[in-house]
Protein backbone atom coordinates (compact mmCIF):
# COMPACT_ATOMS: atom_id res chain seq x y z
CA UNK A 1 0.00 0.00 0.00
CA UNK A 2 2.74 2.41 1.02
CA UNK A 3 4.51 1.50 -2.17
CA UNK A 4 1.50 2.44 -4.29
CA UNK A 5 0.81 5.71 -2.50
CA UNK A 6 4.50 6.57 -2.68
CA UNK A 7 4.62 5.76 -6.36
CA UNK A 8 1.60 7.96 -7.02
CA UNK A 9 3.05 10.88 -5.04
CA UNK A 10 6.39 10.64 -6.80
CA UNK A 11 4.78 10.70 -10.22
CA UNK A 12 2.48 13.47 -9.04
CA UNK A 13 5.47 15.61 -8.05
CA UNK A 14 7.43 14.87 -11.21
CA UNK A 15 4.30 15.52 -13.28
CA UNK A 16 3.72 18.77 -11.43
CA UNK A 17 7.18 20.10 -12.25
CA UNK A 18 6.82 19.14 -15.91
CA UNK A 19 3.32 20.65 -15.95
CA UNK A 20 4.57 23.93 -14.47
CA UNK A 21 7.43 24.07 -16.94
CA UNK A 22 5.23 23.35 -19.95
CA UNK A 23 2.55 25.73 -18.70
CA UNK A 24 5.06 28.58 -18.30
CA UNK A 25 6.62 27.82 -21.68
CA UNK A 26 3.29 27.64 -23.55
CA UNK A 27 1.67 30.68 -21.96
CA UNK A 28 4.90 32.63 -21.90
CA UNK A 29 5.62 31.93 -25.56
CA UNK A 30 2.84 34.27 -26.73
CA UNK A 31 4.66 37.26 -25.30
CA UNK A 32 8.13 36.08 -26.25
CA UNK A 33 9.62 37.48 -29.39
CA UNK A 34 12.99 37.98 -30.91
CA UNK A 35 14.72 40.63 -28.85
CA UNK A 36 12.56 40.10 -25.76
CA UNK A 37 15.69 39.91 -23.65
CA UNK A 38 17.24 42.99 -25.26
CA UNK A 39 14.41 45.50 -25.30
CA UNK A 40 13.09 47.77 -22.59
CA UNK A 41 9.54 47.16 -21.35
CA UNK A 42 6.91 49.28 -23.05
CA UNK A 43 3.31 50.10 -22.19
CA UNK A 44 3.88 49.66 -18.44
CA UNK A 45 5.45 46.26 -18.99
CA UNK A 46 2.63 44.75 -21.02
CA UNK A 47 4.73 44.71 -24.20
CA UNK A 48 8.34 45.16 -25.18
CA UNK A 49 11.11 43.24 -23.50
CA UNK A 50 12.70 42.89 -20.10
CA UNK A 51 16.24 44.13 -20.70
CA UNK A 52 16.08 46.88 -18.07
CA UNK A 53 14.53 44.47 -15.56
CA UNK A 54 17.38 42.02 -16.13
CA UNK A 55 19.90 44.81 -15.52
CA UNK A 56 18.21 45.80 -12.25
CA UNK A 57 17.97 42.16 -11.19
CA UNK A 58 21.64 41.50 -11.90
CA UNK A 59 22.67 44.71 -10.15
CA UNK A 60 20.57 44.20 -7.04
CA UNK A 61 21.16 40.49 -6.59
CA UNK A 62 24.91 40.52 -7.32
CA UNK A 63 25.67 43.47 -5.08
CA UNK A 64 23.42 42.16 -2.32
CA UNK A 65 25.12 38.76 -2.38
CA UNK A 66 28.58 40.36 -2.43
CA UNK A 67 27.65 42.64 0.45
CA UNK A 68 26.12 39.77 2.41
CA UNK A 69 29.09 37.44 1.79
CA UNK A 70 31.40 40.18 2.98
CA UNK A 71 29.81 40.05 6.41
CA UNK A 72 28.72 36.44 6.46
CA UNK A 73 32.00 34.73 5.67
CA UNK A 74 33.86 36.41 8.58
CA UNK A 75 30.89 35.61 10.79
CA UNK A 76 30.95 31.96 9.78
CA UNK A 77 34.74 31.76 10.21
CA UNK A 78 34.63 33.28 13.66
CA UNK A 79 31.73 31.05 14.52
CA UNK A 80 33.52 27.86 13.54
CA UNK A 81 36.87 28.94 15.00
CA UNK A 82 35.78 30.27 18.34
CA UNK A 83 32.42 28.86 19.28
CA UNK A 84 32.15 26.92 22.52
CA UNK A 85 29.14 25.51 24.23
CA UNK A 86 28.58 28.67 26.24
CA UNK A 87 25.57 30.86 26.78
CA UNK A 88 26.88 33.53 24.38
CA UNK A 89 27.27 31.16 21.47
CA UNK A 90 23.95 29.50 22.15
CA UNK A 91 22.37 32.95 21.99
CA UNK A 92 24.19 33.64 18.72
CA UNK A 93 22.86 30.38 17.38
CA UNK A 94 19.30 31.31 18.30
CA UNK A 95 19.68 34.77 16.76
CA UNK A 96 20.93 33.25 13.51
CA UNK A 97 18.03 30.80 13.50
CA UNK A 98 15.57 33.62 13.95
CA UNK A 99 17.27 35.49 11.12
CA UNK A 100 16.99 32.50 8.80
CA UNK A 101 13.35 32.07 9.69
CA UNK A 102 12.39 35.76 9.39
CA UNK A 103 9.92 36.03 6.49
CA UNK A 104 10.83 38.13 3.48
CA UNK A 105 7.85 40.38 3.99
CA UNK A 106 9.06 41.27 7.49
CA UNK A 107 12.48 42.22 6.10
CA UNK A 108 10.60 44.23 3.48
CA UNK A 109 8.71 46.10 6.19
CA UNK A 110 11.97 46.72 8.07
CA UNK A 111 13.88 47.91 4.99
CA UNK A 112 10.92 49.89 3.75
CA UNK A 113 10.76 51.95 6.91
CA UNK A 114 14.43 52.06 7.92
CA UNK A 115 16.33 52.44 4.64
CA UNK A 116 13.66 53.90 2.37
CA UNK A 117 12.21 56.21 4.99
CA UNK A 118 14.53 56.86 7.89
CA UNK A 119 17.83 56.90 5.99
CA UNK A 120 16.01 58.65 3.17
CA UNK A 121 17.37 56.42 0.42
CA UNK A 122 13.93 56.34 -1.15
CA UNK A 123 12.60 53.48 -3.23
CA UNK A 124 15.97 52.72 -4.69
CA UNK A 125 18.23 49.94 -5.80
CA UNK A 126 20.46 50.80 -2.86
CA UNK A 127 17.64 50.27 -0.34
CA UNK A 128 16.88 47.00 -2.10
CA UNK A 129 20.49 45.84 -1.97
CA UNK A 130 20.86 46.53 1.73
CA UNK A 131 17.52 44.94 2.62
CA UNK A 132 18.24 41.89 0.49
CA UNK A 133 21.71 41.59 2.00
CA UNK A 134 20.18 41.65 5.49
CA UNK A 135 17.78 38.92 4.43
CA UNK A 136 20.47 36.76 2.84
CA UNK A 137 23.15 37.15 5.53
CA UNK A 138 21.72 34.70 8.09
CA UNK A 139 21.11 32.15 5.33
CA UNK A 140 24.68 32.57 4.13
CA UNK A 141 26.19 32.40 7.61
CA UNK A 142 24.36 29.16 8.40
CA UNK A 143 25.30 27.67 5.05
CA UNK A 144 28.95 28.71 5.40
CA UNK A 145 29.15 27.28 8.92
CA UNK A 146 27.87 23.94 7.70
CA UNK A 147 30.36 24.05 4.84
CA UNK A 148 33.31 24.91 7.09
CA UNK A 149 32.39 22.28 9.65
CA UNK A 150 32.01 19.63 6.99
CA UNK A 151 35.72 19.76 6.18
CA UNK A 152 37.67 16.76 7.33
CA UNK A 153 38.58 17.21 11.03
CA UNK A 154 41.79 15.29 10.33
CA UNK A 155 42.90 18.20 8.16
CA UNK A 156 43.04 20.55 11.13
CA UNK A 157 44.87 17.99 13.22
CA UNK A 158 47.44 17.48 10.52
CA UNK A 159 47.99 21.21 10.22
CA UNK A 160 48.38 21.58 13.97
CA UNK A 161 50.86 18.72 13.91
CA UNK A 162 52.81 20.53 11.22
CA UNK A 163 52.95 23.59 13.41
CA UNK A 164 50.76 25.82 11.27
CA UNK A 165 49.02 28.71 12.97
CA UNK A 166 45.29 28.80 13.24
CA UNK A 167 44.98 31.49 10.55
CA UNK A 168 47.33 29.74 8.22
CA UNK A 169 45.38 26.52 8.60
CA UNK A 170 42.17 28.37 7.94
CA UNK A 171 43.42 30.41 5.02
CA UNK A 172 45.49 27.82 3.21
CA UNK A 173 43.74 24.57 4.07
CA UNK A 174 40.22 24.82 5.46
CA UNK A 175 38.84 27.54 3.16
CA UNK A 176 40.14 25.90 -0.03
CA UNK A 177 38.82 22.54 1.15
CA UNK A 178 35.41 24.02 1.84
CA UNK A 179 35.35 26.11 -1.32
CA UNK A 180 32.85 24.04 -3.36
CA UNK A 181 30.31 24.11 -0.57
CA UNK A 182 30.91 27.82 0.11
CA UNK A 183 30.33 28.60 -3.54
CA UNK A 184 27.22 26.43 -3.57
CA UNK A 185 25.87 28.41 -0.60
CA UNK A 186 26.57 31.71 -2.35
CA UNK A 187 24.82 30.50 -5.50
CA UNK A 188 21.89 29.32 -3.42
CA UNK A 189 21.66 32.80 -1.93
CA UNK A 190 21.76 34.27 -5.43
CA UNK A 191 18.79 32.08 -6.28
CA UNK A 192 16.92 33.26 -3.20
CA UNK A 193 17.67 36.85 -4.18
CA UNK A 194 16.44 36.37 -7.74
CA UNK A 195 13.22 34.84 -6.48
CA UNK A 196 12.49 37.48 -3.89
CA UNK A 197 9.50 39.72 -4.38
CA UNK A 198 8.17 40.52 -0.92
CA UNK A 199 11.28 42.22 0.46
CA UNK A 200 12.22 44.14 -2.69
CA UNK A 201 8.69 45.31 -3.51
CA UNK A 202 8.75 47.77 -0.64
CA UNK A 203 12.40 48.78 -0.92
CA UNK A 204 13.70 48.68 -4.50
CA UNK A 205 10.35 49.64 -5.95
CA UNK A 206 8.79 48.77 -9.25
CA UNK A 207 10.34 51.08 -11.86
CA UNK A 208 10.87 49.41 -15.23
CA UNK A 209 13.24 52.01 -16.61
CA UNK A 210 16.98 51.53 -16.88
CA UNK A 211 18.58 52.50 -13.56
CA UNK A 212 21.17 55.24 -13.98
CA UNK A 213 22.38 55.26 -10.40
CA UNK A 214 21.96 53.25 -7.24
CA UNK A 215 19.44 55.82 -6.08
CA UNK A 216 17.01 54.96 -8.85
CA UNK A 217 14.19 52.56 -8.30
CA UNK A 218 14.41 49.29 -10.21
CA UNK A 219 12.24 46.19 -10.26
CA UNK A 220 13.80 42.74 -10.25
CA UNK A 221 12.26 40.04 -12.39
CA UNK A 222 10.24 38.53 -9.54
CA UNK A 223 8.96 41.95 -8.44
CA UNK A 224 8.12 42.70 -12.07
CA UNK A 225 6.00 39.55 -12.30
CA UNK A 226 4.20 40.39 -9.07
CA UNK A 227 3.69 43.98 -10.19
CA UNK A 228 2.24 42.84 -13.53
CA UNK A 229 -0.17 40.57 -11.66
CA UNK A 230 -1.35 43.08 -9.09
CA UNK A 231 -1.02 46.62 -10.41
CA UNK A 232 -0.95 46.57 -14.21
CA UNK A 233 -4.38 45.91 -15.75
CA UNK A 234 -4.15 43.09 -18.26
CA UNK A 235 -0.61 42.26 -17.25
CA UNK A 236 -1.19 38.53 -16.83
CA UNK A 237 0.11 37.46 -20.24
CA UNK A 238 3.25 39.52 -19.86
CA UNK A 239 3.61 38.12 -16.33
CA UNK A 240 3.69 34.62 -17.77
CA UNK A 241 6.45 35.47 -20.21
CA UNK A 242 8.55 37.09 -17.49
CA UNK A 243 7.82 34.19 -15.15
CA UNK A 244 9.01 31.74 -17.80
CA UNK A 245 12.33 33.58 -17.99
CA UNK A 246 12.52 33.52 -14.19
CA UNK A 247 11.82 29.78 -14.31
CA UNK A 248 14.73 29.27 -16.71
CA UNK A 249 17.06 31.40 -14.55
CA UNK A 250 16.11 29.34 -11.50
CA UNK A 251 16.77 26.11 -13.40
CA UNK A 252 20.21 27.41 -14.34
CA UNK A 253 20.97 28.38 -10.75
CA UNK A 254 19.75 25.01 -9.51
CA UNK A 255 22.02 23.33 -12.01
CA UNK A 256 24.95 25.48 -10.86
CA UNK A 257 24.36 24.52 -7.24
CA UNK A 258 24.38 20.84 -8.13
CA UNK A 259 27.53 21.36 -10.16
CA UNK A 260 29.24 23.30 -7.37
CA UNK A 261 28.38 20.67 -4.82
CA UNK A 262 29.99 18.02 -6.94
CA UNK A 263 28.13 15.14 -8.46
CA UNK A 264 25.58 13.19 -6.52
CA UNK A 265 24.75 15.48 -3.64
CA UNK A 266 21.96 13.14 -2.65
CA UNK A 267 23.27 10.03 -4.34
CA UNK A 268 25.52 8.56 -1.67
Amino acid sequence: MIKTIGQISVWLLIGLVVWMGVDMAVRGASGFHFGYLFEAPADMGRSGGIATILVSTALIVTLAVVLAVLFSLPAAIIYTEFQRDTRFWRLMHIILDIGVGAPRIVWGLFGGVLFVGYFNLGFSILSGIITLACLLAPILVTGFIVGLQATDPALRKQCVALGLTRWSTLWNQVLPAARPSLIATAVLATGRGCGDAAALLFTAGVATTLPTSLYDSGATLAVFVFHLLTVIPGGQTAAYTAAAVLFVIMLAIQWMITAANGKGRFAH
Binding site: I2, V10, F71, P74, Q83, I98, I105, F110, I145
Partner: protein
Protein backbone atom coordinates in the same frame (compact mmCIF):
# COMPACT_ATOMS: atom_id res chain seq x y z
CA UNK B 1 38.47 43.88 11.74
CA UNK B 2 37.20 40.42 10.98
CA UNK B 3 35.15 40.42 14.15
CA UNK B 4 33.50 43.74 13.39
CA UNK B 5 32.44 42.51 9.96
CA UNK B 6 31.28 39.27 11.53
CA UNK B 7 29.14 41.07 14.07
CA UNK B 8 26.95 42.65 11.40
CA UNK B 9 24.63 39.76 10.42
CA UNK B 10 23.53 38.91 13.98
CA UNK B 11 23.31 42.63 14.77
CA UNK B 12 20.93 43.21 11.88
CA UNK B 13 18.71 40.42 13.15
CA UNK B 14 18.72 41.94 16.63
CA UNK B 15 17.99 45.32 15.08
CA UNK B 16 15.04 43.84 13.19
CA UNK B 17 13.68 42.35 16.40
CA UNK B 18 14.13 45.59 18.32
CA UNK B 19 12.56 47.57 15.53
CA UNK B 20 9.47 45.35 15.52
CA UNK B 21 9.14 45.47 19.30
CA UNK B 22 9.54 49.25 19.48
CA UNK B 23 7.08 49.86 16.64
CA UNK B 24 4.58 47.44 18.13
CA UNK B 25 4.79 49.14 21.50
CA UNK B 26 4.32 52.56 19.99
CA UNK B 27 1.39 51.16 18.01
CA UNK B 28 -0.15 49.95 21.24
CA UNK B 29 -0.17 53.55 22.44
CA UNK B 30 -2.53 54.36 19.56
CA UNK B 31 -4.59 51.20 19.60
CA UNK B 32 -6.34 50.11 22.78
CA UNK B 33 -5.13 46.65 23.77
CA UNK B 34 -8.69 45.38 24.02
CA UNK B 35 -9.11 46.22 20.34
CA UNK B 36 -6.44 43.63 19.45
CA UNK B 37 -8.62 40.85 20.78
CA UNK B 38 -11.67 41.91 18.82
CA UNK B 39 -12.87 39.35 16.29
CA UNK B 40 -12.63 41.78 13.41
CA UNK B 41 -9.84 43.16 11.24
CA UNK B 42 -11.14 46.32 9.62
CA UNK B 43 -8.55 49.07 9.52
CA UNK B 44 -10.85 51.68 7.98
CA UNK B 45 -13.23 51.13 10.88
CA UNK B 46 -10.35 51.27 13.36
CA UNK B 47 -10.70 47.65 14.41
CA UNK B 48 -7.47 45.77 14.54
CA UNK B 49 -8.39 42.35 15.91
CA UNK B 50 -5.46 40.08 15.18
CA UNK B 51 -7.27 36.94 16.23
CA UNK B 52 -8.81 36.13 12.84
CA UNK B 53 -5.52 36.70 11.03
CA UNK B 54 -3.69 34.55 13.54
CA UNK B 55 -6.23 31.75 13.10
CA UNK B 56 -5.90 32.16 9.35
CA UNK B 57 -2.13 31.77 9.46
CA UNK B 58 -2.30 28.77 11.78
CA UNK B 59 -5.04 27.03 9.78
CA UNK B 60 -3.32 27.50 6.43
CA UNK B 61 -0.05 26.27 7.90
CA UNK B 62 -1.59 23.23 9.58
CA UNK B 63 -3.50 22.22 6.45
CA UNK B 64 -0.40 22.66 4.34
CA UNK B 65 1.59 20.56 6.82
CA UNK B 66 -0.95 17.72 6.68
CA UNK B 67 -0.75 17.71 2.89
CA UNK B 68 3.03 17.90 3.05
CA UNK B 69 3.24 15.02 5.49
CA UNK B 70 1.04 12.85 3.29
CA UNK B 71 2.90 13.55 0.07
CA UNK B 72 6.36 14.04 1.49
CA UNK B 73 6.48 11.00 3.74
CA UNK B 74 5.08 8.60 1.19
CA UNK B 75 7.38 9.97 -1.49
CA UNK B 76 10.51 9.77 0.62
CA UNK B 77 9.65 6.28 1.90
CA UNK B 78 9.02 5.05 -1.61
CA UNK B 79 12.18 6.64 -2.94
CA UNK B 80 14.43 5.25 -0.20
CA UNK B 81 12.89 1.79 0.13
CA UNK B 82 11.66 0.79 -3.30
CA UNK B 83 12.74 3.08 -6.08
CA UNK B 84 15.53 2.32 -8.49
CA UNK B 85 18.53 4.69 -8.34
CA UNK B 86 17.56 6.20 -11.68
CA UNK B 87 14.13 7.04 -10.32
CA UNK B 88 15.66 8.58 -7.22
CA UNK B 89 17.83 10.78 -9.39
CA UNK B 90 14.90 11.96 -11.50
CA UNK B 91 12.82 12.65 -8.41
CA UNK B 92 15.70 14.53 -6.79
CA UNK B 93 16.03 16.78 -9.80
CA UNK B 94 12.28 17.37 -9.89
CA UNK B 95 12.15 18.18 -6.18
CA UNK B 96 15.19 20.43 -6.42
CA UNK B 97 13.60 22.33 -9.29
CA UNK B 98 10.23 22.67 -7.57
CA UNK B 99 11.92 23.80 -4.37
CA UNK B 100 13.95 26.46 -6.12
CA UNK B 101 10.96 28.11 -7.81
CA UNK B 102 10.20 31.59 -6.50
CA UNK B 103 6.89 32.17 -4.76
CA UNK B 104 5.59 34.42 -7.55
CA UNK B 105 5.97 31.60 -10.05
CA UNK B 106 4.23 29.10 -7.78
CA UNK B 107 1.56 31.70 -7.04
CA UNK B 108 1.02 32.41 -10.72
CA UNK B 109 0.66 28.72 -11.47
CA UNK B 110 -1.71 28.18 -8.54
CA UNK B 111 -3.73 31.19 -9.65
CA UNK B 112 -4.24 29.63 -13.06
CA UNK B 113 -4.84 26.02 -12.05
CA UNK B 114 -5.85 25.76 -8.40
CA UNK B 115 -8.10 28.82 -8.02
CA UNK B 116 -10.52 27.75 -10.81
CA UNK B 117 -11.06 24.51 -8.86
CA UNK B 118 -11.31 25.82 -5.31
CA UNK B 119 -11.86 29.55 -5.64
CA UNK B 120 -9.90 32.19 -3.77
CA UNK B 121 -10.10 30.15 -0.62
CA UNK B 122 -8.47 28.48 2.36
CA UNK B 123 -8.08 25.26 0.35
CA UNK B 124 -6.24 27.05 -2.46
CA UNK B 125 -4.03 28.78 0.08
CA UNK B 126 -3.19 25.51 1.82
CA UNK B 127 -2.41 23.73 -1.46
CA UNK B 128 -0.21 26.61 -2.59
CA UNK B 129 1.62 26.70 0.73
CA UNK B 130 2.07 22.93 0.51
CA UNK B 131 3.57 23.32 -2.96
CA UNK B 132 6.11 25.68 -1.46
CA UNK B 133 7.21 23.36 1.33
CA UNK B 134 6.83 19.81 -0.02
CA UNK B 135 10.18 19.80 -1.91
CA UNK B 136 12.35 20.89 1.03
CA UNK B 137 10.50 18.60 3.40
CA UNK B 138 10.82 15.61 1.09
CA UNK B 139 14.50 16.17 0.38
CA UNK B 140 15.28 16.52 4.09
CA UNK B 141 13.20 13.42 4.82
CA UNK B 142 15.08 11.43 2.21
CA UNK B 143 18.40 12.36 3.74
CA UNK B 144 17.06 11.52 7.22
CA UNK B 145 15.81 8.12 6.02
CA UNK B 146 19.17 7.46 4.41
CA UNK B 147 20.86 7.83 7.79
CA UNK B 148 19.05 4.73 8.98
CA UNK B 149 21.59 1.90 9.08
CA UNK B 150 21.12 -0.54 6.24
CA UNK B 151 21.28 -3.58 8.49
CA UNK B 152 18.20 -2.42 10.39
CA UNK B 153 16.18 -2.64 7.22
CA UNK B 154 17.76 -5.98 6.38
CA UNK B 155 16.88 -7.36 9.79
CA UNK B 156 13.31 -6.19 9.53
CA UNK B 157 12.97 -7.78 6.14
CA UNK B 158 14.59 -11.01 7.34
CA UNK B 159 11.93 -11.20 10.05
CA UNK B 160 9.36 -11.23 7.27
CA UNK B 161 7.58 -8.09 8.48
CA UNK B 162 4.96 -6.44 6.33
CA UNK B 163 5.74 -3.33 4.32
CA UNK B 164 3.86 -1.26 6.85
CA UNK B 165 5.93 -2.47 9.80
CA UNK B 166 9.08 -1.97 7.76
CA UNK B 167 8.16 1.63 7.03
CA UNK B 168 7.20 2.25 10.64
CA UNK B 169 10.48 0.86 11.98
CA UNK B 170 12.49 3.02 9.63
CA UNK B 171 10.41 6.12 10.34
CA UNK B 172 10.75 5.48 14.06
CA UNK B 173 14.51 5.43 13.64
CA UNK B 174 14.59 8.58 11.53
CA UNK B 175 11.94 10.47 13.45
CA UNK B 176 14.24 13.23 14.66
CA UNK B 177 15.23 14.15 11.14
CA UNK B 178 11.61 14.02 10.01
CA UNK B 179 10.45 16.29 12.82
CA UNK B 180 13.25 18.70 12.05
CA UNK B 181 12.19 18.78 8.40
CA UNK B 182 8.60 19.35 9.45
CA UNK B 183 9.55 22.26 11.70
CA UNK B 184 11.53 23.87 8.91
CA UNK B 185 8.58 23.39 6.57
CA UNK B 186 6.23 24.91 9.14
CA UNK B 187 8.36 28.02 9.55
CA UNK B 188 8.50 28.50 5.78
CA UNK B 189 4.75 28.10 5.45
CA UNK B 190 4.14 30.58 8.28
CA UNK B 191 6.25 33.22 6.58
CA UNK B 192 5.13 32.73 2.97
CA UNK B 193 3.37 35.85 1.69
CA UNK B 194 3.42 36.37 -2.07
CA UNK B 195 2.13 33.01 -3.29
CA UNK B 196 -0.63 32.78 -0.71
CA UNK B 197 -1.66 36.39 -1.28
CA UNK B 198 -2.43 35.63 -4.92
CA UNK B 199 -4.85 32.80 -4.11
CA UNK B 200 -6.27 33.26 -0.60
CA UNK B 201 -9.03 35.83 -1.13
CA UNK B 202 -7.61 37.82 1.79
CA UNK B 203 -10.72 38.34 3.89
CA UNK B 204 -10.29 38.14 7.63
CA UNK B 205 -12.94 35.69 8.79
CA UNK B 206 -13.20 32.34 10.53
CA UNK B 207 -11.67 29.55 8.41
CA UNK B 208 -14.03 27.79 6.03
CA UNK B 209 -12.67 25.17 3.65
CA UNK B 210 -13.94 26.93 0.55
CA UNK B 211 -14.23 30.41 1.97
CA UNK B 212 -11.66 33.17 1.61
CA UNK B 213 -9.03 33.55 4.27
CA UNK B 214 -6.56 36.23 5.33
CA UNK B 215 -3.32 35.46 7.08
CA UNK B 216 -0.85 37.68 8.91
CA UNK B 217 1.50 37.71 5.94
CA UNK B 218 -1.10 38.30 3.21
CA UNK B 219 -2.53 41.19 5.20
CA UNK B 220 0.95 42.67 5.50
CA UNK B 221 1.72 42.45 1.81
CA UNK B 222 -1.73 43.64 0.78
CA UNK B 223 -1.98 46.62 3.08
CA UNK B 224 1.60 47.76 3.69
CA UNK B 225 1.69 50.24 0.83
CA UNK B 226 -1.67 51.82 1.69
CA UNK B 227 -1.45 51.85 5.46
CA UNK B 228 -1.10 55.05 7.45
CA UNK B 229 -1.19 56.00 11.11
CA UNK B 230 -2.55 53.39 13.50
CA UNK B 231 -3.10 50.98 10.63
CA UNK B 232 0.61 51.03 9.90
CA UNK B 233 1.36 50.46 13.56
CA UNK B 234 -1.02 47.51 13.60
CA UNK B 235 0.83 45.97 10.67
CA UNK B 236 4.01 46.07 12.76
CA UNK B 237 2.19 44.11 15.44
CA UNK B 238 1.30 41.54 12.77
CA UNK B 239 4.94 41.31 11.71
CA UNK B 240 6.01 40.84 15.31
CA UNK B 241 3.42 38.08 15.72
CA UNK B 242 4.71 36.18 12.68
CA UNK B 243 8.24 36.49 13.99
CA UNK B 244 7.18 35.20 17.40
CA UNK B 245 5.30 32.28 15.85
CA UNK B 246 8.25 31.30 13.68
CA UNK B 247 10.71 31.71 16.51
CA UNK B 248 8.58 29.54 18.78
CA UNK B 249 8.31 26.85 16.13
CA UNK B 250 11.98 26.87 15.24
CA UNK B 251 13.17 26.95 18.86
CA UNK B 252 10.98 23.91 19.43
CA UNK B 253 13.41 21.88 17.39
CA UNK B 254 16.45 23.12 15.60
CA UNK B 255 19.42 21.55 13.86
CA UNK B 256 22.55 21.46 15.96
CA UNK B 257 25.09 23.92 14.67
CA UNK B 258 27.11 23.75 17.84
CA UNK B 259 29.13 20.60 17.81
CA UNK B 260 31.51 19.22 20.33
CA UNK B 261 34.92 19.93 18.87
CA UNK B 262 37.18 16.99 18.44
Amino acid sequence: MLASLAAVPPLMVVLLGMYLVVCSISALLQIPVAELFAVQWQPSGDSYGVLLLLTGTVTVTLMALVLTLLIGLSTSLYLTLYARPKMLQVANTALGTLGSLPSVVIGLWAMTWVVPLFGNSLSSAAITAALMIVPTFTLLCISALKQVPANLDENVRALGCSDRIRALVILQHARQGVIRALVLAASRALGEAVAIYLVAGNIAQWPELFGPIATLTTTLIGELDVATGAHRGALHILALLIMLLITLVSLFCRPKLIRKRT
